[in-house]
Symmetry: C2
Subunit: 502 residues, 2 copies
């Protein structure tokens, strides 16, 4: 009967061999990068929770009609999302952010939710966009929103919380700032420059102007002015049509975006001058004044929370305060030049999103932090190993018959709180040491035959070994070095390991 | 100019109002349920990490050809997955488990990965199946796998780790057991009963027999026998075609699934008798003997890790040891009858999955724990509040002009490590107390006008209040009760709150 398995094998047909690859624009995450991400999610969640925000995890899919079309810089319906038709003919889309699903969630469960609702959510979002270097079609966001509070204390709270998040992650005061503006002031400005609110193309011109202003930090004043006027040709030769404002109008808008002062009161005064006589402008200013008073009372100075009229945000749905978290330290940009690191998140007040479903006004304000941008920033700041695991001990296997005993040894180390693992393959010692290296192990335990008889093991310090080998030219000399490894009685192993890794 | 905003409003057309609902078979998760889930993921991750498993997070999408078709009980290609065509014409599917993506990941990055690779992953998986009560199309799994280790120490380690996970979650010894079998023994059994390995329908008959055996706990011996023979009609009248074994064959298979003994050695002996003379059977037995020796050496007794020939697992791809985590305490099942809670996860050795891509054998073994089943179990065991947040203090707002001061008060409480939040809406005190209740707050702070003048606040203990109100018939009496609330000088507030919640 012993030949039957091979008969079975012979019967197998040639099988299609797929190529192992992640889909275009997608990737796996592991190791230090994933540890850092989990550390960030954990840290930010804790800050959000300390402010009374409760975790929510919405479904990955939404009905396409419920999701709406609120992608930034995208006015085409259903472009930019991954959608599929369910077997009952309804179209479902993978969420492209966490705000639209929140609006759906609140509308669906409105009666039984605490009001106002403070909720936070971290989760994967998907965008069906053209992938590029560092540009993926799946990424992670961590949002916090207050739904059902129309007052500016709710906006102020989220701005302060954003600042606290940065510091909880170890980003020092001065290396970040939350910049704050108000869409109503921008509407007041458009009114003040004489834009015709009744014109058919008002909404689209308004968005064009807002998005032009929002590009001040990236394009500079000339770029913004071009986009406010006839349009702008970028370096690649692509032409972006402008908002068609005249010189005088452009000048006034330019005055707004270039207002800069360290004192919140001064900034507000200069903004007021530009929107004088408009109701929207006055309302927006009142809201910012209220927020600024809260910041001052709670000790959040201008180095952390700044009023900045050049912050507009790209999304069409904001109705009041908007805010953006900017990292201000310098780093090399894509073209290798030193520049401010830039935005890692932002948000604002969106009082109409839930209304889409409910028909009644339900005010809301919230922030979204982009996890991968922030992770890149932390890495640049030398905090990329945050969330790293404890030092690892790898126990090798010289003689397979001792494996069970060595598993027991590993169990003993683990019981003592030492992160330890047994080499689980069947290769020789050289491969096992390579394995320990690849695993980033701090210590390796080797039990040779003679040692076993004596009740001893060899304890090898890979970090010390690496340091020594950098100092010592001669390889043989390094091997002979007694510093990187020593004989230890099994009874003393736990104490010895603890001494080294502490 | 003040009438312009209303002109704008008038211009708006009637907008389509979507119905707020999660897609069919999907749901949101929040509150205690989400906290419990996060607590479980955290606890299990820590156990996995202590064994040297490293976190991995694969892409949600896989190319359909890379994913293959390994859904349990499903031999139809691409049924049961959510798939869509990318704009370059390639089909992508959302992962339906975490094993197939691991095989793809290992094949893709084989050269740079440590070998063997211990990895764990928790993540959402999607199945395009008919939803039903408690049956969702999106759920969470937490897997651990060792890839590149062909020996049974790797299988044994995962079984021990599964047992440790249950205890780390607070499930007591005796309330769970990991049941272990080996597919090779099952193949030996089929050989021993004279199944023709060379027959064209061998593979499909083999799977039919294995799945019949796997249903022993659910259908009992008669049910299994029917499925091994002509077939079985269930209560709804649906007929499932059987494997077509004869009486003698059925009897031998039945002997196998009903073997039961508390002693691992005894079970192995009785299994050996049924597969005598077969190479597969001998190999499978040797493997189980080796695993049992490790369990015994490391002190994992039969109450935790049991050899059980009725454990077969539904998946076609297992090649060696298979294991299942069963919760043994009794709970009401769907029909209201008391029954063992049952399986919360399982796995086994699958030496061929990576081979699909690489062409070379890369042995692997791993386990998958279903998070929602396990959460349901923990809730039944009275551990549903695991991971609960600290007691919450809600500060109410009597007079809106004091809101900024009260925000500062909340900030002070938070700085002292007290979870505190300000009521952020604009409603009256009654709604604010309802809010505090809905938020599950332990304490409420109220600052009335007179109190403000005196530098005092009222501290209301909602839990004590609820207890008192259960004792006291008269509502007025309860309101007057001094136990549930007291006046506290603002300077003593932190100390007073800490005294109550500690």
């Amino acid at each position: 009967m012993s030949d039957q398995p091979s008969k079975r094998k012979a019967k197998k047909q040639k099988i299609f061999k797929p190529k192992a690859r992640t889909p275009r624009g997608f990737r796996d995450m592991a190791g230090a990068e994933l540890r850092l991400q989990n550390h960030m999610l954990d840290t930010i969640s804790k800050v959000y929770e300390s402010f009374g925000f409760e975790a929510l995890d919405t479904s990955a899919f939404e009905y396409a009609d419920a999701l709406g079309k609120f992608l930034p810089d995208d006015d085409r319906p259903n472009e930019g999302v991954f959608a599929l038709e369910d077997d009952d003919g309804q179209w479902m889309s993978l969420r492209y952010d966490l705000t639209a699903p929140l609006a759906r969630h609140v509308a669906e469960h409105y009666d039984r939710l605490p009001k106002p609702l403070r909720r936070y959510q971290f989760g994967t979002v998907w965008r069906n966009e053209k992938p590029g270097p560092g540009r993926y079609r799946q990424f992670m966001q961590i949002d916090a929103d207050t739904v059902g509070a129309g007052n500016q204390a709710a906006d102020a709270e989220i701005c302060m919380m954003a600042a606290d998040c940065m510091e909880a992650l170890g980003i020092q005061r001065g290396d970040y700032v939350v910049r704050i503006n108000n869409r109503k002031i921008m509407d007041g400005l458009l009114e003040a420059v004489g834009l015709d609110l009744a014109a058919d193309d008002y909404e689209s011109r308004r968005l064009t102007i807002l998005r032009a202003m929002d590009k001040y930090d990236r394009l500079g004043l000339d770029g913004v002015k071009a986009l406010l006027g006839e349009g702008r040709k970028d370096e690649s030769g692509d032409f972006t049509k402008g908002a068609g404002l005249d010189e005088v109008q452009i000048d006034k808008v330019a005055q707004m975006v270039t207002i800069s002062a360290d004192n919140r009161t001064d900034v507000l005064k200069r903004m007021a001058a530009l929107v004088q006589g408009t109701q929207s402008g006055k309302q927006g200013l009142d809201e910012l004044v209220e927020m600024a008073a809260i910041f001052t009372k709670l000790g959040y100075q201008t180095d952390r929370l700044k009023i900045d009229p050049s912050i507009v945000r790209g999304l069409g749905y904001y109705t009041g305060p908007v805010y953006e978290i900017e990292l201000t330290f310098e780093a090399e940009d894509d073209s290798g030049e030193l520049a401010r690191f830039g935005s890692v998140g932002g948000g604002g007040r969106y009082d109409d999103l839930v209304k889409r479903f409910k028909g009644i006004e339900i005010p809301a304000t919230g922030i979204s932090i982009g996890v991968s941008r922030l992770a890149a920033a932390l890495t640049l700041l030398g905090k990329g190993d945050a969330g790293a695991a404890d030092p690892l001990v790898v126990v090798t296997v010289m003689d397979k018959d001792t494996r069970t005993d060595l598993m027991a040894l590993v169990g003993d180390l683990r019981a003592e709180g030492i992160r330890a693992e047994l080499y689980m393959g069947d290769s020789a010692m050289k491969a096992q040491l390579r394995y320990a290296d690849a695993r980033g192990a701090r210590l390796v335990v080797i039990e040779g035959e003679d040692e076993r008889a004596k009740g001893e093991v060899t304890l090898k310090d890979l970090r010390l070994g690496a340091e020594k080998s950098a100092e010592i030219d001669d390889n043989a000399e390094w091997r002979a070095s007694e510093h990187a490894q020593k004989q230890v009685a099994k009874a003393d192993l736990v104490a010895e390991i603890k001494k080294i890794i502490s």
